[in-house]
Amino acid sequence: MSNSSPVAFGAPPSTWEEFTEGLWQRNPVFVMVLGMCPTLAVTVSAINSISMGLATTFVLAASCFLVSVLRRLVPKEVRIATFIVIIATFVTVVDYAIQAISLDLYEALGAYIQLIVGNCLVLGRAEAHAARTPPIPATLNAVGMGLGFTLGLTMIGGVREILGAGAFFGVPLFGPDFQPWVVMVLPPGGFFVMAGWLLLFAIVRRRVAAREKGAAQSAAAANSGACHGA
């Protein structure tokens, strides 16, 4: 799914490519399918999704920066332990910060803030990217990945809030007679909406591929016709 990734080949990616990689082309939610626990659990509203995404982005960026700075000092035998300690540190920082910003938000996100420690996206990026990349590109890549994660979460959370609560970012959309589709804000709704988005992307990708194939075939046909005629 990511063969076209600039990083998969030997050539070092440009700074811009590092940043944009995670936004869409290798989106953590829809392409890499990492970090499903918060993706399915907290996306009951758009604002929760954005908050969770930004919290994860901060943890990801800060951890990847520190992992990258320390990458030459950390022996490989203890690298996982070190990475987890670093990640847990920044999760704790975010935990305190959210308590200071808004208790309502803290209640809404609940245990999922602490569970960012176990989000495989964070450890995955620290281990697979930051541990072998200089600090600046590593941090940029982490910010891109985090924003891609935020985007993915918000796309799921937005749809769930619209269908399940008839609102978007807390603003009612359909008036008082709207009968909310409650299952969408219950756990199964997370799976439905996630699957819906993946289905949509698969259809689009297939269409695009088919069109490219058709174009290539007609070009080939035109070519062979030309050869034949010659």
Binding site: P75, V78, T89, F90, Y96, G110
Partner: protein, 233 residues
Amino acid sequence: MNAPAASPAPVEPVQATPTFALLRTLSVVSAICGLIIVASYLTTLDRAKANRRLAAERAVFKVLPSAKSVKEYWALPSSEITLAGGSDPPAGALRFYAAYDAEGKLAGIAAEGAAKGYADTVRVMFGYSKGCDCIVGIGVVSMRETPGIGDRILTDKGFLANFKALDVRLKEDLSALVNEVKVVKHGTKTQAWQIDAISGATVTSRAVGKGINDAAQLLLPRLVPKLDKLEEP
């Protein structure tokens, strides 16, 4: 996922890192992380405490609408009551809030009760009025009940009507409530100390009733004899 498939390094004997280097790395990293955590804890502590106090006061104003100012008290196990200090409450102390109206008269007492609901603990704030020896309002401090089912305890008019005058009179010897607060099946409430459950949300309704009952059984015997002390703010 994106391991650069660098040309395989020439085979060389695996060099074990010295134990001291491992220990040093782990200690240095832990020390740095420890500093970061402590620094962020200290910087956010005041804001977080202020937030928690504001949230509690908001909940008190909701259950006692005539309240204009709120003071936090502890009811100690020795059945003394003291104004809450800056530190954490002593062991066994029960936290409650005395609310005063615009003229500075005691408008009521608010306290928190908690019990296990369907998904998680349901924490409710209830307002107690000494005039009627009854509970005059409830609000939810936190819950994770099913949207559209359990969370109707916040909106269901019939359910909230239970808490206009829920009887919590104490026995003569002030040891316990005359009648335990009980949650009954929807439509079978006959007494002032019963709570009519929401049909379809019995578990959450029971959690509200149990939370109130447990908290009232503990707090009111300590509080009621001292109510006069709270008259003036």
